[in-house]
Every structure is written in C-alpha cells, then in structure tokens.
C-alpha cells in the first residue's frame, strides 16, 4: 500500500463525523482537565482513560490521542500562567513562560505555545506518516549499549538546566533513579524496597510523585511568605504576537520541531529530553543568553515545539515497536490492550484503518487544538486573577483526586503527601526538581539497558566504549559535565541564574 492510498484509508476513518466529534471532545476535555493546576498530562490521561473504553477501538484511540494533545497544551498553559508544570517536559516551558506571564506577556507566551505546537504537530505528523517504517529501523539498530549511553546523556543534560549546585543536581538524579527502582524487579520478580506493601509492587506511582513534588511542595513554599503574592498580578496586554515576535519565534520553532521529531522517536524519555535539548540549544546560540530565564520568547517557542513534535513522533516506537516512550504512552498501551489490540509491528498491517486513521486524526487534533485555544486564551489567562488563597485549596482537591484515580486507592494520595513534603524539603535545601523527575522517569530504563548490555558483553563494562554511537553519547556527556566544571562556565551560569531568581 503506497503512502497516498494509506493516507486516504486513514482520512476515511479520521474524517468520519463521529471520529471528528470524538477527537474534538478529547481535545476539549484534555485541555479543560489539563489546564487545572496540579493536574498534569499524565494525570489527565489517567483520569480520562476510562471514558474511552466504551467506544470502538478507532474512536477510542483517536479520542485518547486528542485528550493527550489537549492535556499537553493544558499543561503548558498552567506552566506558563502558574509556574505549575504538569510534567518534566513543561518544566522547561515554565522557566521563561512564567517569567513572560509575570511581565504581562502571558497572552503572547500562550499564543507562541499554540502556534509553535501546531507547526510542530503538523510537520511531525507528516514525518510520522512518511517515515514511520524507515525511522523505526534507525531506532531498531540501537541496542542496549546505545540506549544506556543515550539515557546517561539525557540525565547529564538535565543538570545543565539546574539553577544551583551541580553536585546537588547530580545527587537529585541519583535519588530519582533510586526511587524509580522501588517495586518488583522486572527480570526476577523480586520486590525491592516495598516494605511488604503490595501497592508498591508496581513501583511508586508517577502521578503521585510528579504532582507531589511540583504541585503540593509549591503550595508549601508559597505559604512561607504571607505577604502579597507577586505571582497573581499580571495585567494582560495582548493575546497575539507582533510581527517582530513572529520573526523571533520562527527559527526556534523550526529547530525545536527538528529536535523534537528526532528525540521523540527514541523510545525512552526522548519526549522529555527534546524540550530540555531545545532550551539548551536556543540558549547556547542566542546572541544574549542572559535573557533566558527572564522571559525570552525563544525559551517558550523552541521547547514547546520540540515537546509537541516529540509527542507525535513518540507514537512511532509505540506503534512500531510496542515500546512506550514515556508515562502517557504507557497508559496508551493500556488503552490499546483494553481495546483488544496488542501494540507492535503488526498494527500497521493488521489494523491499517486504525493506524492511518490515528495518524490523520493527529493532524486534525492539532488543528482543533489551535481553533479551540486561540480564542479561549483569554479565559485561561483569567485564571491569573484568582486569589491564591482561593486557588490552592482547588489544587489540593484536584491533586488528591488525581492521585486517587490512578490506582483507585488512598495509597496514592498518601504518596502525594509524602512527596509533597520531600519536594518541599529538597527545594528548601537548594536542590532542583527537574533532574530528580528525569532520573525517576528514566531510572528503570537505565537499569534495564545496563543489565542487558552487561549480559551481552559477559560482564565486560568496556562494551560501552566499543560502539561508536555509544562512545559519541558518552563523550558528549563528559563534555557537558566538563564544561559545567569549568570556572568560566560556572560563573556565567551562576550569573544567569541568580539574575533570573530575583
């Protein structure tokens, strides 16, 4: 079946009025729930997952994908407006997006995110359609050795983004990895660090961890100062971009799309990496890197595009290898299985309508997202005028329900409280949360690939230096680490971050 024919098949499914309707409902619901502070994309998808089970497979998956894009955009919205990133990828958006909001440019930041995401989504969907089989071949050639080095590079990259001490950021990665290992060992089934609690056998729930350390600990931090909260007083000037701003975002959007499309294909956190990588790139090539962290529009445009491009292309490992690239994709696998479809290489040939329908509906979903959100930005921005003392009880309520819904048990809510306190304590000690979350997400994959690579090499650790690709990744990691240790870099980095923390 050639591509054109395949896309026609897909269009027949995706343009069926009933599926457009479900796509629309999905995007709308995803945005509404995702925009609620403290409820990130993963929590949103987890919450809305059951709503799709009663539909037929194609409609159900299309709606779920719509929920995902909506939730993703909603997550960026809360990151920009309230500095509450729902997941680690939008943590990057929050750095400059929230600054922009504080400067009264929330509308511009939101419009940038919407337009960047639409462009990235359109391009990445085309890439997915044209190159899905070919691209998956590249990722297929990666063995555990390359994966391990790649994940290592990703973890080291996250330190570049940390504000404070490099040492603490590295420790936070190790802490995240360690906590991610709680639960049954995949290879042997041995329960590890579970205190005989069966609720911990599947690991510490990601939603409880991320909502706890981002949402709850943020509330605790805000309660430290009783005075007026500067976060809530931003007048809104404009909802649209000026011609100058359009020029400023064009190149970052294109670069972000390229980076995101590439990273998204890699199974294992590529989605998270892409926004980090895009931010680092934009900052590295900017004429005035010091603007970053103070409301640089490129710092929103690049990562948001990268994020969304990766969101599309992260379907490639899922659909072609059956590998989830991040927690949401893990939920998607659950949804596929509930619908009686086992994700994997056979989906393209056995379920062409579903596969190509999903691809075409991705583009429709992105279009609906822009149509829906540009006029509604005003409403999202109005969230800013809510008094914080009235808002945080709502965050507590949504966080509790979100943490409860994942396992339908109060245990997740207890974890939420625990990680809220832990997050608060760590931030008070001057530690960063992003490396921790990244370590937590990538930890299990790091272990799996480390073990597998070592098994193939018969216990010889030099195996990581025998593959050229792996050596490349390791050299890049060392280079990044080395650069961070250099006094000059450290001074500059300290300058940038202290000036942005005023």
């Amino acid at each position: 079946m050639d591509l054109f024919q395949a896309l026609l098949t897909g269009a027949a499914t995706a343009f069926a009025p009933i599926n457009i309707l479900y796509c629309f409902i999905g995007v709308l619901l995803g945005t509404i729930v995702g925009v609620l502070p403290g409820v990130g994309p993963t929590a949103t998808v987890a919450l809305l997952l059951p709503a799709t089970f009663s539909l037929d497979p194609a409609s159900g998956i299309i709606m779920l994908a719509g929920i995902y894009y909506g939730a993703q955009y909603g997550g960026s919205t809360t990151a920009i407006l309230l500095n509450l990133p729902g997941e680690s990828s939008s943590a990057v958006t929050a750095i400059d997006g929230y600054r922009m909001a504080q400067q009264g440019r929330a509308g511009t930041a939101l419009a940038t995110a919407a337009l960047g995401s639409f462009f990235a989504g359109t391009v990445a969907t085309m890439i997915l359609a044209v190159a899905a089989p070919a691209l998956s071949q590249v990722a297929l050639q990666f063995r555990s050795v390359e994966y391990f080095s790649l994940i290592l590079l990703g973890l080291v990259t996250s330190v570049l983004l940390a504000h404070g001490s490099i040492l603490k950021a590295l420790a936070m990665i190790a802490l995240g990895v360690l906590l991610s290992l709680v639960g049954q060992d995949v290879a042997t089934g041995t329960p590890r660090f579970t205190f005989d609690l069966f609720q911990l056998y599947n690991g510490i729930d990601f939603v409880a961890v991320s909502v706890g350390v981002y949402g709850i600990s943020e509330i605790l931090r805000n309660l430290e100062n009783t005075g007026a909260r500067s976060t809530m007083v931003h007048a809104l000037s404009r909802l649209w971009l000026t011609r100058k701003e359009f020029r400023e975002i064009a190149a970052p959007v294109v670069r972000g799309t390229a980076l995101g499309s590439f990273f998204g294909i890699l199974p294992g956190g590529g989605h998270v990496l892409s926004s980090f990588a895009s931010y680092s790139l934009e900052k590295a090539i900017a004429r005035e890197p010091s603007r970053f962290g103070r409301g640089a529009i490129e710092g929103v445009a690049g990562p948001e595009s990268a994020n969304n491009a990766a969101a599309q292309t992260s379907f490639i490992p899922l659909l072609t290898l059956g590998l989830p690239a991040h927690p949401v994709m893990a939920l998607m696998i659950g949804a596929f299985i509930m619908q009686g479809i086992v994700p994997g290489p056979q989906v393209i040939s056995s379920e062409p309508q579903l596969f190509w329908g999903l691809i075409v509906s991705m583009w429709i979903g992105n279009l609906l997202l822009v149509i829906l959100n540009l006029p509604l930005i005003g409403i999202w921005v109005k969230l800013l005028s809510i008094r914080y003392d009235a808002l945080f009880p709502a965050i507590v309520a949504f966080s509790c329900i979100g943490a409860y819904s994942v396992m339908s048990s109060g245990f997740g809510v207890l974890l939420l409280a625990l990680f809220g306190v832990l997050g608060y304590v760590l931030v008070r000690f001057g530690c960063e949360l992003a490396p921790f979350i990244l370590g937590f997400v990538l930890g299990p994959l790091l272990e799996e690939h480390f073990r597998r690579a070592m098994m193939f090499s018969r216990g010889d650790p030099t195996v990581f230096l025998q593959s050229p690709i792996s050596v490349g990744f390791i050299l890049l990691s060392l280079l990044a680490l080395g650069a961070m240790m250099m006094p000059g870099f450290r001074r500059r980095r300290a300058e940038i971050f202290t000036s942005s923390d005023d």
Binding site: V33, L47, L48, P50, A51, S165, L167, K168, L170, A171, A174, L175, V177, L178, L181, D185, A187, T188, T190, R192, F193, I216, L220, L223, E224, Y388, D389, F392, P393, A394, V396, A397, F398, S399, C400, I401, Y404, S408, S409, G410, V413, L414, L416, A417, G420, V421, Y424, L426, R428, F429, G430, C431, E447, F450, R451, M454, M455, R458, G459, P461
Partner: protein
C-alpha cells in the same frame, strides 16, 4: 543551640537515604556483573547517591570550619499552614473510600483552605463549590471510581 546548616542537612539527608536503600539493596541477590541480580544496580545507584551526599556534607563542613555563612533560607518553615495542607491530603487518603467523595473532599478542602488567608465564610464557600465541581467533573463526568457517600455513612 547550634543552628544546623542547610547544606549539612542536605548532605546528611542524601547520605541517610543512600544508606537506607544501600542496606536494603545489599540484602537482595546481587548476582554478578554478567548476570545481575535485583540488588546490583540499586546498590550501585545508592553508592553514587551516598558519594554525592558525602561530598556535599564534607564541603559544607569545610566551609563551616572556614567560618563561611550558612546558606539557609530566611523564611521560617510554615509549620501550622503546612500541617493543615498535609493533614488535608492525609485525611482524604484515609477517608475517601470510607466516607465517600463528597464528605471526604469537603472536609479536606475546608482544612486546606484554613491554611490560607481565608475567612471562615470563604473557606465554607470554597468547600461547597469545589466539592460540587469535582463531583460533577470527576465522578459524574469522568467516572471516578469513588462513591458519593461511602459505606461508613450508609444507613
């Protein structure tokens, strides 16, 4: 009383977590580098965390010996307000299934709201509005698996 330094505590915290995890990991089958058991990688990760903890601790102790000022934040820990928030979450965790969504959430929101600068009237309004909203969105709209009124309150 000696005021504990922020970085000292941070190093100690990392070290304590590393020791706890490391001790537990050492109890699992370590296996060999070629065929790793469930304990191998966690022990490695714990060792790395412990090493970072030690270095953070050591550097701060050296800095203290040189008489450098501690970097502790000035804001006091909001004990009462923090406890209200955490209490609200723990209350929901303990009672959601038993009391049901409506009473558990209403009490939790009320508790949480008291942590802020809200009058009793405002807190009550928030409790009613949020409970209503969450019930409609999550329970009725999205099929959250929680009874409105739980078995503890059933007649």
């Amino acid at each position: 009383m000696i005021r504990l330094r922020s970085n000292t505590l941070c190093g100690l915290l990392f070290l304590a977590i590393a020791l706890g995890f490391g001790w537990a990991a050492a109890g699992y089958d370590l296996g060999t580098a070629r065929r790793m058991g469930p304990g191998y990688f966690p022990l490695l990760a714990a060792a790395i965390l412990g090493l970072f903890g030690l270095v953070i601790l050591g550097r701060d102790l050296l800095a203290a010996a040189r008489g450098a000022a501690s970097t502790s934040p000035d804001e006091p820990v909001p004990w009462r307000r923090g406890l209200l928030i955490i209490g609200a979450i723990v209350f929901f965790a303990a009672t959601a299934a038993g009391l049901g969504l409506v009473p558990a959430l209403a009490v939790s929101v009320l508790l949480a709201s008291r942590a802020g600068a809200n009058s009793w009237r405002q807190s009550l309004v928030q409790a009613v509005v949020l409970t209503l909203m969450c019930t409609v969105i999550f329970q009725m709209g999205l099929g959250l698996k929680l009874p409105l009124i739980g078995p503890w309150l059933a007649l």
